[in-house]
Each structure stands twice: as structure tokens, then as C-alpha cells.
Symmetry: C2
Subunit: 384 residues, 2 copies
Amino acid sequence: MPFSFKLQAEDAATGARAGCFATPHGEVLTPAFMPVGTVGSVKSLSPDDLTAAGCDILLCNTYHLMLRPGVDTVRKMGGMHRFMGWDGAMLTDSGGFQVMSLNELNRVREEGVEFRSHLDGSRHMLSPEEAIRVQDGLGTDIAMSFDHLVRLPAPPADVREAVDRTVRWARRGLEERTRLREDGRGHMALFGINQGGTDAAERARCFSELGALPFDGFALGGLWVGEGRSLGLEMVERDCGEFPREKPRYLMGVGHPVDVIEAIARGVDMMDCVLPTRNARRGTVFIDSGRLVVRNAAYAHDERPLDPECDCATCRKYTRAYLRHLFISGELLGMRLASVHAVHHMMSLVRRARAAVLDGRFSAFRSGFLEKFASRETLAAAAS
Amino acid sequence: MPFSFKLQAEDAATGARAGCFATPHGEVLTPAFMPVGTVGSVKSLSPDDLTAAGCDILLCNTYHLMLRPGVDTVRKMGGMHRFMGWDGAMLTDSGGFQVMSLNELNRVREEGVEFRSHLDGSRHMLSPEEAIRVQDGLGTDIAMSFDHLVRLPAPPADVREAVDRTVRWARRGLEERTRLREDGRGHMALFGINQGGTDAAERARCFSELGALPFDGFALGGLWVGEGRSLGLEMVERDCGEFPREKPRYLMGVGHPVDVIEAIARGVDMMDCVLPTRNARRGTVFIDSGRLVVRNAAYAHDERPLDPECDCATCRKYTRAYLRHLFISGELLGMRLASVHAVHHMMSLVRRARAAVLDGRFSAFRSGFLEKFASRETLAAAAS
């Protein structure tokens, strides 16, 4: 079954879009936010928790899974879905980001990247072909092309070289999927990743080649790595202006609610980030009216839920006072309850954005959201 | 409403009993195992998880809660049930065990125990009266008498002194509850605690006085602190032989499945222990056929659930292979899924024992259980 993205609505005043695509593991509505289940679990949450939060697509990390438990084990266990008990859609990254960011000792060659495991120092090789084979072995629904990214800031020549290599590697990945399909495998969709860092000309040059390749969707790579929100969003606007209208656009590594809404406003369909759940485990959650630090002494007797406007399993039942107590006491349940809220809140955010696009009121939704998020109005202690 | 325990069946061949008692937070069936929610949560589990596991009574620790968040906060939040979102019954310990075991610097006087907080070194005092007031403030359904325990082995004179003081303190606690009731508070049940360590004569002497006091139930204190199973069970048999038939009997700190069944066989109605859940968080779970170490390499590709005979939420969905991967990877979800099984398994164990007593087949159940537990039959790797 060929991957097909259905564009359901486009906002008249902004770039915002609403759409959907089918996968062997259910339909995914866009804009979509993908929680990150790095090694096969969104930390502290079960697949049932994700489903209850309204999640229909999950991201897992190829780099981590290929090192542990290893693709052979996952294949033996029937693929990632069966192994972890997740019935929804799954996107895997290519491992490219991790082999560059978790490995000081990597060696990048035309063939691929030689790296050492962050777990035990063992040597491994990830190439454009191997990245596709591993993702196929994991049983993903959407695989990502193996790209070459450079740490910014970088000399222009390095950025150019990375762009050229990313395009060559993209072709090799597509060819590998074709070979797998000839073998009756490789059924997953495959997305290309645009590179070029914050150099608009390089991003344009990258996409002039990448855009001609038969990818099922395109990702915006090399952004949200420290360049700042306004420059990042400028690149998002640039890329989305050029990406084909009829294919999904995935902005990698974005998860701050304001960034999510601003990226959607510029035409992004999919995002992922550990930020909401990592923050939550450390006791900070996003709510509609800002960023709430659960340990704050102001909440010691606060009977309100984390977010008075949220109907997640945590906000329906537990007070800020109890959650604060759990975090102050170092209780695991605190991390879990905050994570339940964090995932639900991101799902709710993209669902509300989607509904606004479908209803032709995205601009009003966006300004209302931004105003409320900046208001911090329910962050203060309740009058007692 | 006066506390009343209803004895529903007594086994003909052993001391095993089945009963029930009502609390303001629902009925509790006995034999009962109480998971421990030390500071207001059974680590990694929510109240809904406990309910799903069949749990109808939970233990919380007075010592921990009085130090953090403090009884004033809990009272302000409407009591422990409301604070933590637990609708079932609750028993609190008196804090006596913790002030002795967590505090090297405690000073025991006739008035009570002066101790330093293990959190910040601050000075506190817990007396028989204060322990009752704190437990009442926490809103417990069953409070425990503040007892004096000695670290074993101890000179006979120390054991005698602790017994005498335990009896004097028991009277003072009962008097304090009477005073509270005159103020319209103190509605909780109150259990006395028998002491005397492993000295049968001292335990008999303790109970000759304690048994005459109007407690709602009696606990077996000072056992399972290193004396060994056979000596512990000997004391259990001794105490239960003397405890009144019409009141519940609570063996403190017991949670190994074999000990639980053997204690039930000797007439115990209630138990608590952190063992099953603490073990679970560390990757070891009890199953019907023994003790399973989840990280064992033999389970890397084992598609069976932790316990093929268990119908808990974890065993219904997840394989040993996945749980092993979670533990090897240090994922929080592993601790949670193992804890879900651990609580469910203990609930199932006491429920099965109860059904056996009611059906007049406890001896057969007991020997079947012990034989299977020793068999280790599903611990080995599956044939592949």
C-alpha cells in the first residue's frame, strides 16, 4: 500500500494545514506531535497511557534500539509494535543525529559513520543503507533518511559538504528501500531530511535536489539546535514555502508549545521532542497559561489540578499540592503523573490547532493561545 | 460506628481464617495484604492501579508523613484519602518502628521518643498520645498503638522493659483516643501491638495485659526482624493461639509469599510489607512458581509474561523479553510494570487463600502453593 497523505484543510491567513495519513497501524491526524519512546518506552508511561492521552503516533530511536536490545532481538520478537505493545503508528529516526551528537569519537566517511556505542564503547557502523535496513527490521511505519548534520556554527564549506553528502545518502537510502521491496520487505514510508543549517541558500540548494526524489514526506533537519526561535522559524517558513504541498512536513526536535504553534502556523505537519516529557520528569509542566514548576512552595496547599483547563487523567484527579509532595519526596509516581499530563497536553494542543484549521479560525486560536500562555494566570497560588 | 470484625470461616485443620471488616472507606476482606504507600504513594503506582489489582486496604507511614508533608498539610487537604486520591481503607503505623530503626540518635524516655528527622536532622517528639493525634489528623481508618521495640538480640532485661513500656504506652494511646472522641474526633479503629521479641514468655506476659485492653484488633510486633522464618512462625503460632478469636490479627512486616501463607495457616488476618514492591522495582518478582529475576539473560527472547498464571495488567500484555529490556535499559516503565504485577500477585495470593478457607480446602491449597512455589517450573527459559 503506497503511503498517502491527505490534505484536509489549509488556513487562509497562515501556512497552517490539517491533514491525515494512513499507516498499517492506524490513521494519523495532523498536525501531529510525536512523544519520544527512545528505547521502546516513553519514560514512565505505557502504551495504554499514550492511547488514553490521544496519541496516535510515537517516535522511537534507531540508534538506541540497534545497540540495545538490537535489531535481531526486536525482529525475533515480532517488531517494535509487538515487542512494546504499541498498536498505533510509529516513526523511527535514522540514527544520524545520535551518532553525531552522542559520539565524540565518530568518523564520518562517504560510506557512512563509524561510531562507538555510548553504552559499552563497542564499534559500530551506520550507513544510509544500514539505517534503512535497521528501521525496516524494527518494523517502523515511517523511516527517516540517514542524513549528515554538522554542529553549528560551522564553516560554510562544512555546511556545503554536509548538504552534498545528505543528498547522496538520501539517494542511497531510497535505493536500499527499493532493494528491500524487491525482497518483499521495506514496506515503510520513507522521509527525506533537508539540511543546510541556518544558511537559507544551502537549505534551498539541498532541497533543489532532495525535493526531486520520491520520498513520502520531507523533514526539516538541523534546526532547534541552539540557533534561537526567530532564526529557526525563519528557516521553517523558508523550507515549508518550498516543500511540496501534497506531502507531510516534519520538523524534528520541536516540542515547546509556543514553537509547536508557530511551526504549525508556518506549514509544519509533524513534530517530536523529548522536552515535554523530560521536563515533566523533572517537575516542570506546560499548562495552557505557561510553565508550571511543580515544586514551588506556593502549591503546598493548592487544591487545583496542574492545569485547570486540562482533562487528562492526572488533572482530573490530583491536586498541585499532592504532586508537589510527590516531587519533593522523590516519588516515582510524581514523574509518572506529570508525564501523563505532559503527553496529554501536547496532544490536546495539536488537536485544538487542527480543529481551528478545519474551522477556519486558526489565527484567532493562535493569538488566543499565545496570549494565554504568556499570561501565567493560573500559575500564582490560589487565594486561600 | 464501632469497628467490627466478622469472622466468616475457620479452617478445620489449620489456624487459617476468612473474615471481613467494614471501614468508612469500604469493606476489607481477610486475609488481607496491605501494600505500603510510605509517603502517600505505593512507589510508581496510582490509587487506580491499586484498585485494579484488587487492593482494598493500604498502609501509610506516620513517621514519614508527619515529617513531610506534615500532618497540618494533610489535614488542610482533607486527610490522606483525599490528598492522595485513595478511596479504599487505610491503616497507618504508629511511627514507633521508624523512630527506632531510622534514628541512631533517638532518646527513649517514659514520655515518648525524641528523635531527629532523617530528612533534615530537625528534632521531633513522638509520644503514645501524639502518635494517636497524628494518625487521627492523617484521617486513617485504622491506627496503631505506639509501641516500644528493642533491637534484637537484646538482654532479657531490655526486652522486659520494652514489654512493660509497650503496655503502659498502649493504655495512654487508648486514653488519648477517648479524649479525641470526646472532642468529636478519633473515629478510627485502634490496634494494640504485642511485643516481647522472640521470648515466648515475654510475649505471653505482654499479651496478658494488652489483651485485656479494649483494642479493635491486635498486631504481632517485633517479628521478621532477622530472627528467621521458623522462630518467627513459632511466635506467630504462639500469639495467635492467645489472641481473641473475634478480633483481627495483624502480622507486621511480612510479605514473602511463603511467609504470608504460613502466617495465614497460623491464624493471621492482615499483613503488610514493602518486600514485593521493593523487589519489583529492583527487577525481581514473585510468581506462582518462585522468584523471577527479570534481568536474567535467559529471558531475552522469552515471549511469556512474567507469570503465565497471572492475569494482572502487566502479565496480560507484556513479555519477559520486553520487561528485561526495560530493566536492562533502566527505564522507569519497567519498575512500574513489575510493581503492577507485584501488588496484583499478593492480592491474588491472599484472595486465593481466603477462597480456600471459605471452601474448606485450605490445607490442600497451602501444600499446592508451597510445592509450586518451590518448583521454579516456569523460571527456566522457554524451549525455542
